[in-house]
Assembly symmetry: C2
Homo-oligomer: 638 residues x 2
């Protein structure tokens, strides 16, 4: 039932508004595609309406009309997040997935999963706020570490004698042989794109120019008196942080945090890998979405700072291994199934134009090394920027997400692993869960029987984001309402619903469908126990493999967006993190992004990153012998 | 009045049948283009007919309908070769160019220049055989020189252990670290295109594969037991020679000689440079025409030899500097006007995919060095393959064409220059001149008052190709019908026509328009004197600059297509070549193509070529002080 959404060939891709094209087969070029636009759909309360293909799911129709409905599983009927209410018109019959994921009461009121519902005529649909994918908080800031800028790109200002009939030297050689260059760098190669620019540029600029040289190759031609720029990208599964840097001063000139537009095709990386694996066109689509988003960010940042994208002479990207492969359009099949083998783990350099990035025409993008299928370059970047690789202490760095990567630095010995912590902290599989968007409760406190909370944007609450989910579990456990095994005890706010116990955090408004009860269910707790158990197991396996106890840890650095917003005390309270004095924890923000910046502005840092890639010892957690013993204990709270 | 012919965006370019699109403005993508097909045109005697845009020249209409009419000037009304006869229908009035270039008698019979004539309604046109551009003889063979094959590409067969949960090494590193590779080459870089292939290929081929490595970079993955292939290209202004080579054995597997499809846009390189200089789209068009022709030749040669284009792991191209720049789509403006500066003269390596060549996805194309704006890599290749750079003798190598490049090797000291010999030997500006196609007289002998001749294809004569033009002049001079100053003397076959003397070689058939008189005019002789004078001046300037007399020359090697077919005795008789014993001359065929092959199969030869590029001393003939003194003498015959 999973439907692939194609772009018409040669359409400029607007990543915010994917267009749906049906029955498109054959190679990209010269292919007829037809849209049978026959069903009129109106989405409330946003008031968007239009004609859609008659046999597409409501989720596809929403994308077609530019309505961003949340979908974590990518539209396979699995995550239960794309809930909509059919107000008028005929739709396809209820599916088994919907019976499992939706309350009977909701079904009675016409609630459906958008990805499972096909309009059978003109319809009117209501999209509840929880189902609307609004811009999310993105963590772009991290701890600034100052290193001496020493970029991979050397910029040489040159002043050349013009060519004459008495001096017929070719332009490229004239540049290469000029003393201004020769005394600084040896040019061994000209990029074809630079050769295409050099002759008119030299004449236009009256033979005064700057050559940006990288590893003996001219990669950009800049006007005099302009510093070369650099681009650092931390490409996350859900968020992208983009930094525009001055390569000479090492300063951040501008930055952007954006949603990863691939989210329309599944918030879950597994769904995207499955899509990419279906064919090169699908893989191309996923890649182009991200490239278009980054290109747009580049233009915005350059406009903001009055710079030119053609002055961006170098770039660095970090990502997890799957995102790295999707971004480079590397094959994904062998990475998506056991034994989860990456195509390449070393650092690589790729011409930015070969990816579609619009920066200096000869510039490269450098990709930091991956360690394994589930421990990627973003982890290496975090190790780099936190400096744990060189410290004479026992330090751990964690980046909590659907996969949580942890590195233990034991007096320069680095051991890393990844644990499948699942998307529960991103609100998936949690009844009242939602992403960190407006209306999400972000912090929760139980004061006797009262629930105190705080929402993002200060608006009325519609659900719980990750940090609030963690707080709720910790508060219920500390109050004895949930016991160590995770069982909900009787309490005035605890009720039975569909045979499951749930704790009511916020009583909604029965008259207002958009203000439902916000509850925390027994099933939610089971999901969270699996997540917290996985993370704690990762920590324990790392300690055991290093013959250490958790009390030996000097510090724990918590990186990443989720880690930046959580209450560490809550994480310690439920036993997700070890019970250490709170001052041993530090929330370091976007450590991966900081690592990308370091590798961009300093070739020494880039070399260290490559060395980290080879130094890290990787443990495959799922095949670790002690896994089940530790995990069975770690799922308990406290 | 010169009209640019565009392709509709995204149309697969059929270089044999360019399509005409009018009123197309704006960027390539997303642009509407319209064809106003309103005039019906029929071309006789080939019987091609169809609707054409109403306000296009007949030359453009001919191209549009796939009728290849000769045009040396590219359609600017200058060369007078695109003669057609209007049999029925109204056309635009006669232009000044036509009055200058056509006889009054011809004009009276409805003859016009196709490039100057616009149909004003439906018309019937006759294309005389001389105006039809038929496939031309192409010189692809040269003297085989055997060198030990030592290609730039090293092929390593590898047998890898499959990845398992206990051995998670990434695919690229698994290949790089395997003993089969490590003992042979050091891999420092993977091309992005190869990374996109490696994972599925390794699994498909059960971890048995061959890696083709060039300068530490994997450029192709081959199945086991298949030799890597190479592609050598000699890209001439009018002809292209393409060779498919076995890089291991150094053997030529297949070869093709083809017309340069850019000829539709001007046989003259100057016309094409002017076109390319108009904008990037025009430059792109010219480049894509050649690339498509080469790609087609690759497919044909691979089909013929049952090989795969993806096994072509290396390529070499030689061309004159202008064709080199057009092929790489380098800027042409500074090359087309004084002081004629090349963008780059060193040898360069470009990813074949960046040019559009369809060979192994990571393969490079190597471009031999250029020497100056009018002495290109094809000249370097000829110096390489003839071996004159290393010989302890005084040897000259000439490639006669519109520009004639000459190198004098004086005991390893190399001096080169180019002389503007003009297109007279290609039949341009010669009244009965034509290209070396069927019906062209190729050899002429005067036996008392009788003219003996031989035609290509053994058919009835329609004109004179280059070698016959040379023979005719020599025969008339030796018979005293033309004196040393080039003046035609009275003779039974000499007549006055339009105020000019002409010698009638073949009396045509007055009843048959397609069988005109074939004559040799006073004006033709003046053109040839300029051409021969330029070449002889080049030879003399080279000798003077080396303080040599022509009798010191040990041997003269004549390279190229024209040089292969000429009668050396004729060239000596008119004084184009010095009066040396005939055994000192050798016609060496396509020496440039041979040089490309050598540089392909041997990296040592490639290095020598680069060295030749820097060793050759270039003389700019036009600014040489002795030029006019020598030239004024050299235009005389004998």
């Amino acid at each position: 039932m999973y439907k692939i959404i194609h772009y018409p060939p040669n359409t400029a891709i607007d990543y915010a508004r994917p267009k749906l094209v049906k029955s498109w087969v054959g190679p990209l070029e010269n292919t007829e595609y037809t849209c049978n636009l026959t069903v009129h759909i109106e989405f409330e309360p946003i008031g968007r309406r239009g004609d859609c293909p008659s046999d597409s799911s409501l989720l596809e129709c929403a994308r077609y009309l530019g309505v961003d409905i949340v979908s974590i599983c990518g539209g396979v009927g699995d995550c239960g997040r794309c809930i909509v209410q059919i107000l008028k018109g005929k739709v396809s019959p209820l599916t088994d997935n919907e019976r499992q994921l939706l309350d009977k009461a909701m079904i009675a009121k016409g609630y459906r999963l958008a990805c499972r519902t096909i309009p059978l005529g003109d319809i009117l649909v209501k999209v509840p706020p929880q189902s609307l994918s609004t811009p999310q908080r993105t963590q772009v800031e991290g701890e600034e570490i100052t290193v001496k800028p020493a970029s991979s790109v050397t910029v040489c200002p040159v002043s050349l004698k013009p060519a004459t009939l008495a001096d017929l030297q070719a332009d490229a050689e004239r540049l290469r042989e000029s003393p201004d260059i020769k005394n600084k760098v040896k040019i061994s190669n000209f990029d074809i794109a630079i050769l295409r620019e050099i002759s008119p540029e030299l004449r236009l600029k009256k033979w005064q120019i700057q050559a940006a040289v990288r590893d003996g190759e001219v990669v950009a031609l800049l006007p005099l008196n302009r510093n070369p720029l650099g681009l650092a990208v931390d490409l996350g599964t859900s968020k992208i942080a983009v930094y525009l840097m001055d390569l000479t001063s090492g300063k951040t000139l501008a930055l952007r945090g954006l949603m990863n537009p691939q989210i329309s095709y599944g918030e879950d990386i597994i769904a995207r890998m499955a899509l990419a694996n279906r064919g090169t066109e699908q893989a191309k689509l996923l890649q182009e979405l991200v490239v278009a988003a980054i290109n747009e960010a580049i233009i915005e940042m350059c406009n903001e700072t009055k710079k030119s994208p053609s002055d961006i002479a170098d770039a660095v990207l970090v990502a997890n291994t799957a995102m790295h492969h999707l971004f480079l359009r590397l094959p994904i099949g062998q990475l998506a199934r056991a034994p989860y083998i990456a195509t390449v783990s070393s650092a690589i350099d790729v011409k930015a134009r070969d990816i579609g990035l619009k920066i200096a025409s000869g510039a490269y993008m450098h990709f930091l090394p991956n360690i394994a299928g589930y421990v990627g370059a973003d982890h290496v970047a975090a190790i780099l920027s936190t400096g744990i690789y060189k410290e004479d202490s026992i330090t751990m760095v964690l980046d909590i997400g659907t996969n949580t990567e942890i590195c233990l630095a034991n007096h320069r010995k680095l051991t890393s692993l990844s644990c499948a912590s699942g998307p529960a902290f991103e609100g998936a599989h949690i009844k009242s869960g939602m992403r960190a968007a407006d209306g999400a409760i972000e912090h929760v406190k139980l004061v006797s029987d009262k629930v105190e909370y705080q929402t993002i944007g200060g608006v009325a609450p519609v659900g719980l984001c990750g940090s609030a989910i963690l707080d709720t579990l910790a508060q219920l456990f500390l109050a004895g309402i949930v016991d160590a095994s995770g069982k909900i005890k009787p309490h005035p706010r605890v009720r039975e619903n569909n045979g499951t116990r749930e704790f009511v955090l916020v009583y909604g408004n029965k008259q207002d469908e958009a203000r439902p009860d916000i509850t925390f269910t027994q099933r939610d707790i089971r999901e969270l126990q699996l997540a917290k158990g996985a993370i704690r197991t990762g920590i324990e396996v790392l300690l055991e493999s290093n013959k250490l106890k958790y009390r030996d840890i000097d510090s724990i650095l918590i990186a990443g967006a989720f880690g930046s917003y959580i209450d560490v005390a809550s994480a310690v309270a439920i036993g997700m993190l070890p019970n250490l004095p709170l001052e041993r924890f530090r929330q370091v923000g976007n450590a991966a992004g900081m690592g990308a910046k370091l590798a961009l502005i300093s070739r020494h840092q880039r070399a260290i990153a490559q060395e980290i890639g080879t130094r890290v010892q990787y443990i495959d957690l799922s095949s670790a012998p002690q896994f089940s013993r530790i995990f069975n204990k770690a799922i308990n709270l406290g």
